[in-house]
Amino acid sequence: MGRHVLLIEDEPNIIEAIRFLLTRDGWAVETHSDGTDAVEVIRAAEPDLVILDLMLPGRSGMDILRDLRGIPETAKLPILMLTARGQSRDREMAERAGVSRFMTKPFSNAEVLTAVRDLLAQASRP
């Protein structure tokens, strides 16, 4: 298992902060800001982990998540979903759709790092 993260988020300064944090932690970070072609971008990038914002321009993160879970090569891809909408129904929908971890904004940097490390560790287990 490598250390390649694809961050799909449309807030430039959140992207910058997360990219800085993860790069410092030894991750290769690639970013993308549009929901429309996110599934194709993820498939082409073949990341070890995806951080996916729920509310994206073009297409909802929830729809992207559902698509990814329906594709064999991304069915088990670790996905950390970020959202400013913390309603329980969003969390439940994401869990039903197969999200690996759900995190509400505003989150702390430590929480993001811990979640990414945990998801990587879980995915590495046989």
Binding site: I14, A17, F20, L21, G86, M103, K105, P106, S108, N109
Partner: protein
């Protein structure tokens, strides 16, 4: 790091602002560059003539170099760090951060205060959120901006050695995002103000009534003296636009008049002076029920009682029918309140006075003594079961002396309460941990 050891950091910052090289300043004040370097890294103490000379060369008052940032600023930074879940070691560096980057520390503290204020807005409006897409979009914008500020500020505060390029970039981002937060929060307030003037607000009679009594400080001198009656006050109140609001206000003011008649202001104030603000003693003195004393205490003129008091009344369904807000104890208008409030305990034990010390979960935990009693409303009737209302007086309590230990933690409503493992929780909170 102790605050008095930060003079060097301030000298370094001021020198940078002045555009002076270390070697140049050292030469101007007659010391070696390496010695100035030690001073600037707080490894040598400085005072006396050398400090005066450096201040002179930098064109600042010596006190600007020796006095730390204001205590309030540091306290706010510590609070921000604690809320962000920073480790103790980082919290201890709040004064160093304020000393090295006073301007950015002010920005961070200002944004922290703004977020606290927005949190209160969220609490008030949480129940509207799910029904109002415009409001949801506005709050989404605010939360996203707060996230960017939170993450960026944490990096600046917590990363030891940050390359100049990254540091400048994050400073720029912080500046951008704080401006965006200012704009989005202004837009949110403007939206709320507009909705306050619009027809939809008129559909919420309780809010009109509340606006009416709050505007008058919950106290009506002309009703006390009998120089006006409820009808004339209602007639002259522009905020009471709906018939429903006028009906409720009529009831509220009618009850006020009865309380004032049973406990005239001058006599009540004399009794408070003689007996202290003790509801049971006051109830015995005037021969009135406890709920009436609670209401009377909550409608005293400002400054008469030793503290501001809050009041909340609910019916037997738990719906809040009247509230007087008090700082630090959130009383939601919409949705369900926290079932741990003593007011609800009182509903289960009618006519029994209940007193509980509580602390409400929130940014700054404050302590309150809540006194509650549930009493039947209306005249007794053999043909109908009694209908109860519960009234709760909320008195602020000073912390210390173990007062916190005796307090029962309560929330405002589940949706905006971050308390975990609560036996009374009905639904998950919309707020992330630590927000």
């Amino acid at each position: 790091m102790a605050r008095d050891t930060l003079t060097g950091s301030r000298i370094r910052e001021r020198r940078s602002i002045a555009g002076l090289k270390q070697a140049d300043l050292a030469r101007q004040v007659g010391i070696s560059a390496s010695y100035l370097n030690l001073i600037e890294h707080n490894r040598r103490r400085i005072g006396g003539k050398l400090l005066l000379n450096i201040a002179h060369e930098l064109g600042v008052e010596p006190s600007m170099l020796t006095q730390g940032a204001e205590a309030a600023l540091i306290a706010t930074l510590r609070e921000a760090a604690a809320d962000a879940g920073a480790v103790a070691a980082e919290i201890d560096h709040a004064d160093e951060f304020a000393g090295r980057f006073p301007g950015w520390a002010e920005v961070l503290a200002g944004e922290h205060r703004r977020i606290a204020s927005l949190e209160r807005t969220v609490e008030t409006l949480a129940d509207r959120l799910t029904h109002d897409p415009h409001l949801a979009a506005s709050l989404h914008e605010v939360l996203s901006t707060a996230t960017a500020i939170h993450s960026t500020a944490s990096i600046l505060a917590e990363t030891g050695e940050l390359e100049a390029e990254w540091r400048d970039r994050f400073h720029r981002n912080l500046n951008e995002e704080s401006r965006r937060l200012a704009e989005s929060s202004k837009a949110l307030v403007s939206y709320l103000d507009e909705s306050g003037d619009a027809d939809d607000r008129r559909g919420v009679p309780q809010e009109e009534v509340e606006a009416f009594v709050v505007a008058r400080g919950h106290h009506f001198p002309t009703l006390e003296t009998g120089t006006a009656d409820p009808e004339s006050l209602i007639r002259d109140a522009p905020e009471l636009t709906s018939p429903a609001a006028r009906t409720i206000t009529r009831e509220v003011l009618g009850r006020y008049c009865k309380d004032a008649q049973a406990m005239p202001l001058a006599a009540f104030l004399d009794a408070v002076k003689a007996l202290g603000p003790d509801p049971l003693a006051l109830s015995a003195r005037f021969g009135t029920d406890l709920a009436a004393v609670f209401r009377r205490m909550a409608t005293m003129p400002q400054g008469v009682l030793p503290w501001d008091v809050g009041l909340v009344i609910c019916d037997a369904s738990g719906s809040i029918v009247f509230r007087k807000q008090i700082e630090g104890f959130a009383l939601p208008r919409y949705g369900e309140s926290c079932p741990l409030w003593p007011m609800f305990t009182a509903l289960g034990r009618p006519l029994v006075p209940i007193r509980r010390r509580v602390s409400q979960m929130g940014r700054s935990v404050m302590l309150f003594d809540c006194l509650a009693v549930a009493q039947p409303v209306g005249a007794p009737d053999f043909e109908a079961d009694p209908l109860y209302q519960s009234t709760m007086l909320i008195l602020p309590v000073k912390g210390g002396d173990g007062a916190e230990n005796a307090a029962q933690p309560v929330g405002s409503s589940c949706r905006v309460c971050t308390r975990t493992k609560c036996r009374a929780r009905r639904e998950p909170s919309i707020l992330s941990e630590g927000f």
